[in-house]
């Protein structure tokens, strides 16, 4: 039976979290002995979807902008008769699937990292609890399995032998309650890379000491083409806005490099940065938990090390 995947598109391309969801969904489809179908609201990047093993693309038009309940309703109709429907565990993917769960009365498993199809047709899943600090093994037994895929789960891998993707236009006309809640979008001033998709994140924690102490970290982030992320204490002290918080109640990041400065490494913070490919920690305390989670460590005062590093990068030949 067919496996569906809700795919989020930004700037004409599939977002990273949806590529990871597609990768997992392709594996589920192979086990379920069915094809992989993608649902895109708006213009679908058909070639990119085909490269990830999608055979059928449903391009939905008729919903003006993002309306989570209307999206959930459309999915309920499209995926009728499918065995599973996956989405990225983003704000949008999660809430659309939760609406779908509420509309259909079906259970939903959030933030899966692995899914296999058992011989009786039920799904054996591994999902994150505590933002990934704990894993749950569970069995999901439902006519249609609703699964979101953790945004830091596995890696996005294109299909080995992709075929062409057949694009079908689906025009819908949602009504009533389904359209009451819809997003009005406005650009946020700053621009630049966002925390969740940045390639480099320079992290600052209690050790930074004050709002003013972030100057050198900002400079370093700019030099590395990255952004600044912070620990929870920094936002509760009011040194930085909460939008920059990395962790269980902030943002989960998946950069190539996380450079953690003056961050002790509470597990709620680790939950947010554990998806980084590489971690460098700078801390005066060699026994700080962050140091044990790092690939590289510098024992020292960030107030001396970071300005020296900025200087070295500036004057680098």
């Amino acid at each position: 039976m067919t496996v569906f995947c809700l795919v989020e598109v930004d700037d004409g391309g599939v977002v990273d979290a949806s590529l990871r969801a597609l990768t997992l969904a392709r594996g589920v489809a192979a086990q379920a002995g069915g094809g992989l179908a993608a649902v895109v609201f708006g213009e679908p990047p058909a070639a990119e979807l085909a490269a990830y093993g999608v055979c059928d693309v449903f391009a939905v038009s008729g919903v003006d902008g993002y309306a989570p309940q209307a999206w959930g309703r459309v999915l309920a109709e499209l995926a009728d008769g499918a065995s599973a429907l996956l989405a990225a565990g983003t704000d949008r993917g999660t809430e659309v699937l939760a609406h779908l769960g509420a509309i259909t009365g079906l259970p939903m498993a959030a933030n899966c990292v692995a899914v296999s199809v058992a011989s009786d047709g039920s799904f054996e899943i591994v999902r994150q609890r505590w933002a990934g600090l704990l894993l749950e093994d569970a069995v999901l037994d439902a006519p249609l399995a609703l699964l979101t895929v953790a945004t830091d789960a596995g890696a996005a891998e294109p299909a080995d032998a992709p075929g062409p993707a057949d694009v079908r236009q689906v025009a819908v006309s949602p009504v009533g309650m389904d359209l009451v809640v819809r997003a009005a979008e406005t650009a946020v001033g700053a621009g630049g890379a966002s925390l969740s998709s940045a390639r480099v994140v320079v992290g600052g924690g209690r050790g930074v000491g004050s709002a003013d102490g972030f100057g050198p970290l900002d400079e370093l982030a700019a030099l590395l083409g990255g952004v600044v992320g912070v620990s929870r204490v920094v936002t509760s002290e009011g040194w930085r806005p909460h939008t920059q918080q990395v962790g269980q109640t902030g943002t989960k990041i998946t950069p190539d490099l996380y450079l953690a400065c003056g961050i002790s490494g509470a597990i709620q913070h680790i939950a947010g940065c554990g998806g980084a490919k590489h971690i460098i920690a700078i801390n005066t305390d060699p026994a700080a938990p962050m140091m044990a989670r790092a690939d590289y460590a510098v024992v020292g005062d960030l107030h001396k090390v970071i300005p020296a590093l900025v200087e070295a990068l500036r004057t680098r030949p």
Binding site: D10, V15, Q69, T90, D91, T94, E95, A98, G101, A102, G105, P107, A110, N111, R129, W130, A131, L133, L134, L135, E136, A138, V139, L140, T148, V180, V181, A184, E185, T186, V188, S194, R199, V200, L224, S236, P241, Q245, T249, D256, I267, H278, I280, A281, P286, M291, A292, R293, D295, Y296, A297, V298, V299, G300, D301, V305, L309, A312, L313, R316
Partner: protein, 255 residues
């Protein structure tokens, strides 16, 4: 304006999470309990709304009798009433659909203008109780909210969040359900009079309705294989800078 805030008693997790011998719950013998930061912010937001518009803040939780402790903390922060939907000791964990159904029994009868929840429970992280509750109530819902403004005549609310660098604003008529995130406000500390009032307050205890089977059955909980890495120490203080630059070059993050 009458606001209902739904909270959940969860263990305070410090250095590490340990799974209990039954393999299905976490070891809480050494831990205290709390509500999540998202929910603390939900209580604070409700108290601020009632300070502006008048009305009441009711907090509700589905949980064991010990969850009275969390309800009293919310009362100390300014909530005016508390309801415990009491589950029997040793009751299995309630799934999101069962939790929403239980909360619905309180939300539907109270004449509430607004129901607030945290964006997700800190422990199970199911991310769906608010939406399932909204569908049971037939009310609109928005999730992950980081700022909200109720209009002057208290008929609608503008709720904002960010998505991939774009600000999303949702305008919802009241009554509605919102799930909020930490960062929407900085919660106050409980005042001494607040604590005293909370200590004396009468919490209404209602047996939780029986939970239907969830369709999602937990077979085991485990701590993921140590994400502990073998850190290479690059050096002490500024002497480590040249090694640091080489590592950055090696990782390909220098332009």
């Amino acid at each position: 304006m009458d606001v209902l805030v739904c909270v959940k008693r969860v263990p305070t997790v410090g250095g590490a999470i340990t799974v209990a011998p039954d393999g299905l719950s976490i070891d809480t013998r050494m831990s205290g309990f709390t509500i999540s930061p998202h929910e603390e912010c939900a209580v604070e937001e409700a108290v601020r709304l009632v300070e502006r518009f008048g009305g009441s803040v009711t907090v509700v939780t589905l949980g064991p009798v010990e969850a009275e402790e969390q309800l009293r903390s919310c009362l100390a922060l300014g909530a005016s009433a508390a309801v415990l939907l009491e589950t029997p000791a040793e009751a299995p964990e309630s799934g999101p659909a069962a939790t929403a159904a239980a909360l619905h029994s309180v939300a539907a009868d109270g004449g509430f203008d607004l129901v607030l929840l945290g964006n997700e429970a800190a422990d199970t992280g199911d991310y769906q109780v608010g939406i399932r509750l909204a569908h049971l109530l037939g009310w609109p819902v928005a999730t992950g909210i980081k700022a909200l403004t109720v209009d002057d005549d208290a008929t609608s609310v503008a709720a904002r969040r960010e998505y991939r660098g774009v600000a999303e604003t949702y305008t919802l008529p009241l009554s509605c359900v919102l799930t909020v995130r930490e960062g929407i406000n900085l919660p106050r500390y409980p005042s001494l009079p607040g604590r005293l009032r909370a200590k004396r307050a009468v919490i209404s205890r209602v047996p939780a309705p029986p939970a239907p089977s969830a369709g999602l059955r937990t077979t085991a909980l485990r701590v993921p294989a140590a994400a502990r890495r073998q850190a290479t120490v690059l050096g002490q203080g500024v002497d480590a800078v040249p090694a640091l630059v080489s590592v950055l070059a090696e990782l390909g993050v220098l332009s």
